[in-house]
Symmetry: C2
């Protein structure tokens, strides 16, 4: 194929994927099952349905169906902001003077500002279909909460959001966006739940964590009629919905005969990366093609690069099921970094298993280097990236610079998950030279590891 | 044609316009020439070149060339965010239960968050081509300043921005975006210029105005070697560059055999509206087709609906040329409304002339009704609109509701110029019921009119 590759590849609306890709169905070694927090037995659909919508509980446990149809109502919502563009980073390539070809899948072209909307609308749809009144959730950087507010507003559902306190304070305007969409936002830990009150008593000055906000949201959902809890990352169902990212990216690349050598994404809970790599990893697992995959995480919360692969609680309050995953311990509270969306102690079980089997690499990067990459990217490519997404930018640039050194014209694909419009306080700190890099000591990690339960199945 | 119309119509990169459309060339009654502020004689190219780049001065005076080629360097930058989508507002139509078809041209899909980038990159290009060191400008809501920062960063130019003080305070994060792109931002009026010091002395508590910030930026540019002043609206050259909006919209509509009955845009200085209507108005002026055009302005700054058509100063400090336009007087300082980008006392001469000749209508709307429309739009169409853009939404919704009453299936096109991510303080006031509507009294207007010079040519 010799078509000239445009700056932005937009698929037609008719090319929007009709199915999600269920990566687990392609894995010989399946991710370990979730365990019930009390009985420590594998969670059944009935167990899960107490917390999640029935249909989502089914998706959570399904590790055999390779493709799951996207309901028409969800596809119609997708059409408001999808297919999302795949961008050829011509300007960045030029600025780096690299022989590499760089592509990024841009998921920030919607009001929530990130890929989170892909799963939010699916979860809201199934909640509505089940006849629920509303849903509860947690949000870190605020992207997931905004996405869920939009989705709930679309389907007329009530939406209660627990927002990690440090993000709530760093991003006051996020709250207003959620309010515009009719959501109710509470900073976490809060006095509105038992688990919140307990954490505040134990750690009065805490800036919160995703693990803690999850506990509060679950407690609230299970204590109210007609409510269920929804989660924006980590879960199998979320990776499933996010596969739309990778499927669109692959269709767009295939159109121009392009094949990525390396695929890079930031990883907090793992939803974006899991979605981006889905169709490519499926090919790799089937022996149809080979790709390198790199998960990028903050050095301040080094789940894959320094964590343990073990069963652990998904939340600080230990009310959620246990998952076998790379973890820093559910009691690990990361420093208040500027990438709130990556401050999670664990990693989705699918990516954990793939990483453990050597099918994926991981790299930890420090935040000032991430903001340097973000600013450079913004100036040449125009888009102002979210700090989370900029972790992927940093490593994509590193790889492109390596290509310059070795003279290899590799094709790099990375996920640009969102925009940084609500992160200007972080950019301000960076501009003012007030940003510091924090790397947890071995002692701090050991303290987190001590909280990991000893479970052998 | 019976093609199914998608939610978003994206043109191919190859369909990006190759020429700007110079609306004045199609007008029998040309807009009156700019006058020199001292001599009151028509400005020559030499006069204009003291303030503007040579090429832009040429464009400013050219009212005969119908199409002007877009240089390749500008087209390449356009490719990073253009063609911009034309959206069929299926969800809004459904929510309003209207037989009308509603389309909007969305210009917020870039980091500056608005259409302003279309002219910023053109002006930066010509400044670079002329070998300048940098440019100065003013910004109201911050959209133009952000756009210019991005454009200057792309071409390696220095960028000094005077930001209207009330916007500077309402939108602190805008400053950080500009800083990310390397710009220098000063709240206006400031103590850095003679005109700023004079205004502060006379009105110590002033929240500033565009007219005043313009004076400061011009004074700074003309006082430094290698600098010129650039402006984001009002000027003929800006309307020329913005014609890319209308040309793309028309190409997209033509593809599906659609013809708008009414075209609606918000109007502060007039650049977005002038750009949106350009190819449609050109057809109307040539008798090839008929369209209704509606300019929407805030009731707090009712330039067209309550202003006078006369020669007036473009800036408060009276250092800029005079333009024949609808004006409230260069001394009129509008109330601190939440649509900073529409707080200008005048209206671009082209639109003023078209309005005066009955070729365009105008409507003034109050800001709480605008925010009601904005929130409703956000909830059904997903996009969070800027307060400025929401003026057009309000009237588009009014027109669609009228269609419901009359049963007419009209086709409505409006310009959605930008996103509201940096306007959350305004949304917060709206949510908290703290937003008020201010309409200037006849006495206040009379005071502004008293400052309009008496000039007859």
């Amino acid at each position: 194929m010799h078509k000239e590759i445009p700056y932005k590849i937009y698929l037609e609306e008719t090319e929007l994927p009709r199915h999600w890709l269920n990566l687990r169905a392609f894995m010989e070694n399946k991710p370990a099952p979730l365990l019930h927090p009390q009985t420590l037995q594998p969670m059944t659909q009935e167990d899960l349905s107490e917390v999640f919508c029935v249909e989502l509980a089914k998706q959570e446990l399904d590790d055999t169906t390779p493709y799951i149809e996207i309901p028409e109502e969800i596809r119609n919502f997708y059409k408001m902001y999808r297919p999302a563009p795949l961008v050829r980073a011509y300007c960045l390539e030029k600025a780096l003077d690299t022989p590499a070809k760089i592509y990024y899948k841009f998921e920030g072209n919607n009001t929530s500002g990130s890929h989170k909307l892909n799963s939010a609308i699916a979860q809201a749809y199934y909640a509505k279909k089940q006849g629920l009144k509303g849903v509860t959730t947690e949000t870190g950087a605020g992207q997931w909460g905004t996405a869920l507010s939009m989705a709930c507003s679309y389907f007329g559902l009530d939406c209660k959001v627990y927002m990690v306190k440090c993000s709530y304070e760093q991003k006051p305007f996020r709250r207003e966006v959620m309010r515009t969409y009719g959501a109710n936002v509470t900073p976490s830990p809060s006095m509105t739940t038992n688990v919140g009150r307990k954490i505040l008593e134990e750690f009065p000055g805490t800036t919160g964590s995703l693990g803690c906000a999850i506990s509060e949201a679950v407690e609230t959902a299970t204590g109210m009629d007609g409510y269920r809890y929804v989660l924006g990352s980590v879960l199998n169902q979320v990776l499933l919905h996010q596969s739309v990212i990778g499927m669109e990216a692959k269709t767009a690349l295939d159109k121009y005969g392009e094949k990525p050598d390396v695929i890079i994404g930031c990883a907090g809970g793992g939803s974006n990366l899991g979605g981006l790599i889905a169709p490519f990893m499926a090919e790799k697992l089937q022996g149809k093609a080979d790709y390198r995959f790199i998960a990028v995480e903050p050095a301040s919360c080094p789940t894959l690069t320094r964590g343990k692969y073990a069963y652990d609680y998904c939340d600080t309050g230990k009310v959620c099921p246990l998952s076998k995953m790379y973890t820093l311990g559910s009691g690990f509270i990361p420093s208040a970094s500027h990438a709130g969306g990556l401050r999670y102690h664990g990693m989705t079980s699918t990516l954990s298993e793939l990483y453990d089997k050597g099918l994926m690499e991981a790299r930890a990067v420090e935040q000032t280097s991430v903001f340097e990459a973000a600013e450079r990217f913004a100036r040449v490519e125009g888009i102002l990236p979210a700090p989370e997404s900029s972790h992927a930018i940093k490593v994509a640039m590193d790889e492109a610079i390596k290509c310059k050194e070795t003279g290899e014209a590799k094709t790099i694909l990375f996920g640009l998950t969102g925009t940084g419009y609500f992160d200007m306080l972080s950019y301000e700190k960076f501009h003012d030279g007030k940003m510091s890099d924090y790397i947890p000591t071995e002692e701090e990690l050991a303290k987190g590891f001590a909280g990991i339960p000893e479970i052998s199945l």
